[in-house]
């Protein structure tokens, strides 16, 4: 393992498509962004020798969708009061967030090379005072949702249309602070608030089921006054459709259960609790990069097949 260095940072800046782009174009753009973010994040974690790759990979499709096509945010005006807010409550996947922010122009890509270095701005949990686009200094679990509720309340007071999105882990929902916030959110009818749960069914040491079961999560959220939607958290099309269509019930905040796999889509990581904060070695890095490439090829192939099929059916 070599120390993280500038040559390990190779991701292109992707930016946003025109709002006139078709849904298919948006989805393809998000998919490419997610792929680039994964490639880059793997290198960061491998070379820095630390990070939370499992949780990173389970969240990256959500992050890429939000920053790629949903959030009303602009790297040139990161402090615009009317911007949407995205709060990463599961702050341990800061690596994924930094890489996403770099992919969309909030953070100079080169700066990723300082990840976890002494005195770096990029520590293991995001710091809003150092990184443009970070809305809250998270890390301790169960902080993001209350902050998001506070921001959504401010939008309501301002009679503003800005929206608030927050991404939490599923294990994280064992923290009672989240339920306090959810009760307040529905009481105040904050329908501009969307909670996305990264439902990978794993936490730090074991499955959520073994540790402290969250099911029936949909019933819990519904009883706390949320409109509940379930999506495949790795399907960019589904994510785009759901995250841009909120709220689903006027007057109700939205609870999106995004079904994911920790470590997705890497064969040896996916759904394997050991990869919560394990670091891929040289061989594992190579394998993961290769798998991401193969998947891309397969997806292209499938798309072509589907497109051909579509034509035949006509």
């Amino acid at each position: 393992m070599t120390a993280l260095a500038p040559e390990h940072v190779t991701m292109p800046v992707l930016g946003r498509l025109s709002p006139h782009a078709s849904r298919a174009e948006q989805v393809a753009h998000i998919a490419e962004a997610a792929r680039q973010i994964r490639l880059q994040d793997l290198k960061l974690v491998h070379h820095a020798g630390a990070g939370h790759i499992g949780g990173d990979f389970s969240a990256i499709d959500v992050l890429a969708t939000l920053y790629g096509a949903v959030l009303n945010v602009d790297p040139d005006h990161p402090d615009d009061p009317e911007r949407d807010r995205f709060i990463l409550s599961k702050g341990h996947v800061a690596g994924a967030l930094y890489t996403t922010l770099a992919a969309f122009g909030f953070l100079p890509v080169e700066e990723l090379a300082t990840f976890l270095k002494p005195l770096s701005k990029l520590n293991g949990h995001p710091n809003r005072n150092y990184v443009r686009g970070v809305e809250a200094n998270t890390g301790p679990l169960g902080h993001g949702l209350p902050i998001a509720v506070g921001h959504a309340l401010s939008a309501k007071l301002d009679v503003s249309r800005r929206r608030t999105y927050v991404l939490t882990g599923d294990g994280e929902l064992q923290e009672g602070s989240n339920w306090e916030a959810m009760m307040a959110a529905s009481h105040h009818e904050l329908d501009s608030l969307t909670v996305i749960v990264d439902r990978n069914r794993l936490q730090q040491g074991a499955t959520t089921r073994e540790t402290n079961d969250l099911d029936p999560l949909d019933a819990k959220a519904a009883a706390f006054g949320f409109a509940v939607v379930e999506v495949n958290g790795h399907d960019h099309g589904e994510l785009l459709d759901v995250l841009s269509a909120v709220p689903f019930r006027p007057g109700k905040p939205t609870f999106v259960i995004a079904h994911t796999h920790k470590g997705h889509p890497i064969s040896y990581m996916s759904n394997n609790v050991a990869w919560h904060h394990k670091v891929p070695d040289e061989a594992q890095l190579e394998q993961a990069l290769a798998e991401l490439d193969r998947l891309q090829a397969e997806q292209k192939h499938e798309e072509v097949a589907r497109a051909t099929g579509d034509e035949r059916q006509r």
Partner: protein, 325 residues
Amino acid sequence: MTTTTAPPVLAERGPIADQPRFDCRNAYVDTLADLARSDHRIVGVVNDSVGSSKLDAFKKAFPDRLINVGIAEQDMVGVAAGLANGGRIPFVSAASCFLTARALEQIKADVSYSDRNVKLCGMSPGVAYGELGPTHQSIEDIAWLRAIDNMTIVVPADPVETAAAMRWAAATEGPAFIRVSRMSVPAIFDESYTFVPGRATTVREGDDVTIISNGTVLWRALAAAEQLEAGGVSARVVSMPTVKPLDVDAVLAAARETRGIVTAEESTTAGGLGGAVAETVVAHHPTRVRILGFDAFQPTGSAGFLLDRAGMSPDGIAEAARSLL
């Protein structure tokens, strides 16, 4: 940084203990309403306790701008941080015991470390809830917050100082904690008083010994100085409303110019104002310091009873001062 003029209002009056007393919560709510009228960004955030924070009038005047999250202190502080993210200036009002104990990680992470413009108002702190027992007595709050970086800690001594601290906090970006006392206290400052964070005020000149105090104990320190003067001892009384950042110059002047320091506060003896003064003198000018405060969970009793019992009656403070001569 120390002003050396005693507040004029004190000179003209009789013994401090005979002055009329005021509940600082009234100054608190009047000032908050006043600030809210001129600055639309100001909002209140509470945990059910609208009445015990005396916020009914504020609620009537600004129904949308008093956000009651329910009995949920963690959420309360997180919500305040989110409101600040949205450009608001939240004044969080909650019993100091629950605000600081229950939401400490939110205070550390969401407010201090995130550098959010949130004003934490610890209501009825210290032993104000004397009869309600240690769970409601908030004697640890100062020591707890003093350990956290990026938090200005203010312990006002009377209604004027409470209002002044609030106006300063509203006008100054960044985290602040203000203790708002419930126990009635005599007025010490007049309207000419300006609060400057980190600045002490010598409220009584003296050169034998110094008493450094704040909050509900400051008038007791002044009463002790009156007694000491009657006995021929010249006691300086330094008002130290800001526990953090501390007015180091005022402390060191006391260490150099008088024979010892008594600190007296409605707080633990471990890590509060007394601890801050001790840490300061040992670094620069070692001096004897008698730290008065609470050294254990307190029994049942009124706030006054408990302060007296812990050696913070005027007699008790005077005696501590004499022990340094």
